[in-house]
Structure formats: structure tokens, C-alpha cells
Amino acid sequence: MQLGAQFVQAVNLNHPGRYVHWGVIQISVANLVVIAVMIAIFVLAILLPFPGRRRK
């Protein structure tokens, strides 16, 4: 229950967004997290073996 509450607090978007500034680049932390997760999924998709390779 407490873990669930902590998770909800961590991803709660019901407040003004937090932004990262880097030169001319400005991006919300939420969007940055989404991009990081997508890159992680992409890398894992390349590295992880595909299960059940049934050859004929």
C-alpha cells in the first residue's frame, strides 16, 4: 500500500510541470523520462534474446 502510494506520488502529474533547461533546449521532466524509457526499451530489444525460436 505504501509502495503504491509512493509510486503514485512519483508519477503524479497533477501539478505544474518541472522543466530541464540546456541551452536552447527546454524539455519537461515527464517527456524526458518517456524518452529515456523508450531508449531503454530499444536497447533491451536489441540485447535480450527472443524466446521460443522454433526452427523448421
Partner: protein, 222 residues
């Protein structure tokens, strides 16, 4: 009807049938095996994108039937509205990962340029569909996005034809034109994949022929 008449029959229906069978033989249109290199997670994101798109269409259809008074005010309406949003998030996410994978394996090789182009155009159409979806939320966010976007679109001269402040026009783009365009593009994209096959991995640096030449002799059942 004899086989000869069936092969050389008159009329446009016979012509379409001959072209369809020549371009898409049944075992190529609905294959039961794929080259061995397809057994990789990298190749999963295309079908994941299509699956998410079907959920987007389904939830969008329910929202269309019940209307905004329902999706804003009832618990189940909120659930379907949120499912529509999150299936779009997955649709766009899977599509971008699919795009990365295909870009880094140069998926336009081997006469697959049109496959690449239809995928790229459907990505652009999806951005438009997501944008018009934001505009039709009927809340403060949609009003804010519309008033910000109008200046950008007016600055490139298309504000008179694509008026983001016109709710009715944006709704029609979102629920008719763009889903139709994306659906048709996806069908053509998948048919082209069936016709030309899944793109093989890039050859190794010391290889002159593509790597899968040997790999295609082995097949993996889908």
C-alpha cells in the same frame, strides 16, 4: 469456368484479380513462417504499433458513440477516455521505437522505399491525429494548445485552411480524415512488407552480400 478464362478473363475485375494474385500470392500474403533473423525483439514493435492502433480505434469509437457529456462525467467514461489516451501513448511510443529500429537497419534497402515512405507519412499523420485529439479534449488544455498553435500555423500560411480554433473542423479531422488516412497507410504499409518481405539485417563489414542470404534458408515459425 476454365483456368484459361480465369487467367485471361475480360474486364477490370479479372485484371484486378490477376494483379492481386501476382503481387500477393496467398502464402506470401499470410505466411506461416519468417526468416530466422525475424526472431528478435526488434521486429516486435511494428505489430505492437498496429495492436495499439486497434485499441485507439476501439476506444475512440466508444467515445464517439457516447459523447463528451459521458466521457467527462461518468466513471466508465473516464476509464475509456484514459484508455484512449494511454493507447495513443503506446501507439506513438511503439511507432517511434519501430522507426529507430528500421532507420538503423536502413530498412529502405531492397526496393523497400515505398514501405519506408508509407511508414514515415503515417507517422506524420499520427502526429496530426494526436494534435487534433489534444484540441478536442474540451478543457483548458485544449483551449491553451489551440491558441498557441494558431500563431504557428498562421505564420506558415495554412491557418485559413486548418483553423485550430474551429472545434468542429478539428473534431472532423480527428475522428474521420486522419484515422482514415492512418488506417489506409497502415494497410498499404503492411501489404508492402508482405510483398517485399521483412528487411534483413545489414551485412557485416567484411561481407559483400547481405547477411541473411544464408539465414533465409532457415525459417522461424511465427
Amino acid at each position: 469456368m476454365s483456368a484459361e478464362v480465369e487467367e485471361h478473363g475480360p474486364g477490370w475485375t479479372a485484371w484486378v484479380r490477376r494483379r492481386a494474385l501476382r503481387s500477393f500470392p496467398p502464402d506470401q500474403l499470410l505466411p506461416d513462417s519468417q526468416p530466422v533473423y525475424v526472431a528478435s525483439w526488434t521486429y516486435v514493435f511494428g505489430v505492437a504499433t498496429v495492436s495499439a492502433f486497434l485499441v485507439v480505434l476501439g476506444t475512440g469509437g466508444i467515445l464517439t458513440l457516447r459523447g463528451p457529456a459521458w466521457w467527462h462525467a461518468s466513471g466508465f467514461g473516464h476509464f475509456i477516455n484514459s484508455t484512449h489516451l494511454w493507447s495513443v501513448e503506446l501507439f506513438m511510443g511503439f511507432m517511434v521505437i519501430h522507426l529507430w529500429g528500421k532507420f538503423f537497419m536502413a530498412a529502405w534497402r531492397g526496393k523497400r522505399a515505398m514501405t519506408w515512405i508509407t511508414g514515415a507519412v503515417s507517422f506524420l499523420a499520427s502526429v496530426g491525429a494526436a494534435f487534433t485529439g489534444y484540441l478536442t479534449q474540451q478543457n483548458l488544455a485544449s483551449q491553451w494548445i489551440a491558441t498557441q498553435a494558431k500563431d504557428g500555423l498562421n505564420s506558415v500560411g495554412i491557418g485559413a485552411y486548418f483553423n485550430v480554433l474551429d472545434f468542429g473542423q478539428m473534431l472532423m479531422w480527428h475522428i474521420v480524415l486522419l484515422p482514415l488516412a492512418i488506417g489506409l497507410l497502415i494497410v498499404v504499409h503492411v501489404l508492402l512488407v508482405r510483398r517485399h518481405g521483412v528487411v534483413p539485417p545489414l551485412p557485416l563489414p567484411d561481407e559483400k552480400t547481405p547477411a541473411p542470404a544464408a539465414a533465409t534458408s532457415e525459417a522461424v515459425q511465427s
